[in-house]
């Protein structure tokens, strides 16, 4: 299985390669990708240089152009596709159907991967992308169990890529307007979710509270570290009680499931975190490189502590086990 690692900056990219990545995914420093944070991502020139650097080391670069082009500005995204192709990207990761159509028609030889943002969650949807655009790989939404992934991998004509570490989306990716409901900024349109621009922390009598767009997302005791107010990881109440209604603020760690994913026929493992720093990239990539080496030599991957890198200092295997639903 290929290890696909995130890079938000050229130095993170070098770090990931040194730590053992088989491929890196990254994006341009504009709204064409779904991690559009200030100071993050690659200029055209940085991407060209990164691709040349990676290719000399036998590492692939996958360019994420995975937001949904803004109406009346579609050319920006089409230029991004053209520029990534000209820079010799090994694959484009796309979500918008119109953009896939453009890429397939204008760059028929270019390898296309279906982004998790395209929410292709079953063999029929995946087959549609394969048959219509010649997609070679699909990044599976994080709402599928391992048996479901195995069933998909058996049935589809393209490769499958699954997330194994990092932030966890509990809603179908690419189909969520929670963030824009609270802040007017959406993953699909602006490439951000729960943006920092709309975050506020306040001191309360009980400790602290975190807010997003004016809505209180969580409250913390004085000695508790105040987490980042990602909307779906907040604490809320219904008439049945108070708690993490949607998901606990944990992140995904599927180390324990690597052999199951391999047996399921998965082609590639993806680490989330283009917005994370070099220490995260180095630590997490090394861990999974080592786990894969152990797996290849017939052993089981050891679940060593990646706690410092996990949100909420706790991890989950998410939807990969069906009890999550």
């Amino acid at each position: 299985m290929e290890l696909i690692c995130p890079a938000g900056t050229p130095s993170a990219l070098r770090t990931a390669i040194e730590a053992g990545a088989d491929a890196i995914y990254c994006g341009f420093n504009d709204e064409t990708n779904a991690r559009n944070f200030p100071g993050l991502n690659f200029s055209r020139r940085e991407l060209s240089e990164a691709i040349a650097f990676a290719h000399r080391r036998g590492v692939k670069i996958l360019v994420a152009i995975n937001t949904f082009p803004r109406a009346a500005a579609v050319e920006l995204w089409q230029r991004a596709v053209d520029d990534a192709v000209n820079a010799r990207a090994d694959a484009l990761i796309l979500a918008d159907i119109g953009l896939m159509d453009y890429a397939a028609r204008h760059h028929p030889g270019q390898r296309l991967h279906v982004s998790v943002q395209a929410a292709a969650a079953n063999p029929d949807a995946i087959a549609y992308y394969v048959e219509t655009f010649g997609a070679r790989r699909v990044v599976l939404p994080r709402v599928l169990s391992v048996p479901e992934i195995a069933a998909i991998a058996r049935e589809v004509a393209c490769e499958t890529e699954v997330f194994v570490f990092g932030g966890l989306c509990v809603m179908a990716e690419g189909r969520c307007s929670l963030s824009s409901y609270a802040t007017a900024k959406s993953p699909n349109m602006q490439g951000v979710c729960s943006p920092a621009s709309h975050v506020a922390y306040a001191t309360t009598a009980q400790g602290a509270s975190s807010r997003l767009g004016g809505f209180t997302i969580n409250q913390f005791a004085p000695d508790e570290p105040a987490g980042y107010p990602t909307l779906c990881k907040g604490r809320f109440s219904t008439e049945l009680g108070t708690g993490y209604i949607f998901e606990d603020p944990v992140s995904l760690d599927a180390t324990a499931l690597l052999s199951a994913l391999r047996d399921a026929g998965v082609s590639a493992l993806k680490i989330e975190g283009r917005q994370r720093g070099r220490a995260y990239v180095e630590g997490v990539v090394r861990h999974f490189r080592k786990a894969l080496t152990v797996l290849d030599s017939g052993g089981e991957a050891v679940v060593t502590s990646l706690k410092p890198f996990t949100e909420g200092q706790a991890s989950t295997v998410g939807a990969y086990r069906k009890t999550w639903r």
Binding site: A71, I97, D101, R175, C176, S177, Y181, T216, E239
Partner: protein
């Protein structure tokens, strides 16, 4: 003339209530199009399927165009089979709510619901070239995008979500089951206790979202009564009213009265507030503002 369409009932109503709701819509509601079917959770579908033929027949006899909505999220093998079967059975148009449908009906005329990502003219043209004849756009789109899309595909009926709690997210996890300490597989259909969805509040007691099984909706109710002129000028030809647990016939009449100039938007909104009290209205998405907000026309920045 702007059409009115009624979206599928999102909530898990008792089947007889569901059936009688549609009979009354057929008999009394000034809506042109009605989309029916269980689109949120396939576990609920068998209970409504029993009444579906009678409902469709009554609606068609009343002159309504009937659309058959697909599931929003298709993942189980049974759901894939049902989705493919939808393409075979339909006398009327399928309303595609998940791209899975396209594998079985691409090329044949169909409608597209507000759960398919059409954010720009290229995506809209792509779908139009493969048979989409009406498209209800994603509710989070701003007016400028709506207008650019409508201009690019003038042959397609472009529809906007104009009333009802706004669908914001879909998941494989059931949040209704989760708050009852159950899971989707053993859910006991607890979602049937909440006819308008289950309200989610912040820790500071601010009403925020609504849980409806695997679906998350806004707490606020969309109300585009004050934006009808802009929508019409932007090329929108149909307005979708999404059923809430209130007098939807009266809601439809109110929208029809404002569209036809018998009532102004202010009076219409007051009327809606009486029909569906205690729920804030919102139109923020259309104005590029946070979705929960309500922007009055004179505040809107062109």
């Amino acid at each position: 003339m702007m059409q009115l369409s009624l979206g599928p009932v999102p909530y898990n109503w008792q089947p007889e209530r569901w059936r009688d709701f549609y009979f009354r819509i057929a008999d009394e509601a000034p809506v042109d199009v009605v989309s029916v079917g269980e689109i949120v959770c396939s576990k609920r579908a068998p209970f409504f399927d029993e009444h579906l033929p009678a409902v469709i027949e009554r609606l068609e006899r009343a002159g309504k165009e009937v659309l058959l909505g697909s599931l929003i999220l298709v993942s189980q093998p049974r759901e894939r089979r049902q989705t493919a079967a939808l393409a075979e059975m339909a006398d009327g148009l399928i309303e595609v709510n998940d791209l899975t449908c396209l594998r079985s009906i691409s090329g044949r005329p169909h409608a597209i619901g507000p759960f398919v990502n059409i954010y720009n003219e290229a995506a809209a043209s792509f779908h139009a070239s493969r048979g989409a004849v009406r498209i209800c756009l994603p509710p989070e789109l701003p007016l400028a995008s709506v207008a650019a899309i409508a201009a690019a595909v003038p042959e397609v009926v472009i529809e906007m979500f104009g009333f009802g709690r706004v669908p914001l997210a879909i998941s494989a996890r059931c949040y209704h089951a989760r708050v009852h300490s159950l899971a989707k597989d053993n859910c006991r259909f607890v979602c049937d206790k909440d006819l308008d969805g289950l309200v989610v509040r912040t820790l500071e007691n601010q009403e925020f979202l609504t849980v409806n099984g695997v679906q998350t909706l806004s707490h606020a109710c969309a109300n585009l009564l004050h934006d009808l002129g802009e929508l019409e000028r932007g090329g929108v030809r149909s307005l979708r009213l999404s059923p809430q647990s209130c007098d939807m016939v009266d809601v439809a009449r109110t929208f029809r009265d404002v569209l036809d100039g018998r009532e102004d938007a202010e009076a219409g909104s007051r009327h809606l507030q009486r029909i569906y009290p205690n729920i804030p209205f919102a139109n923020g998405f259309l104005h590029g503002a946070p979705g929960f907000s309500f922007v009055m026309p004179e505040q809107a920045v062109e």
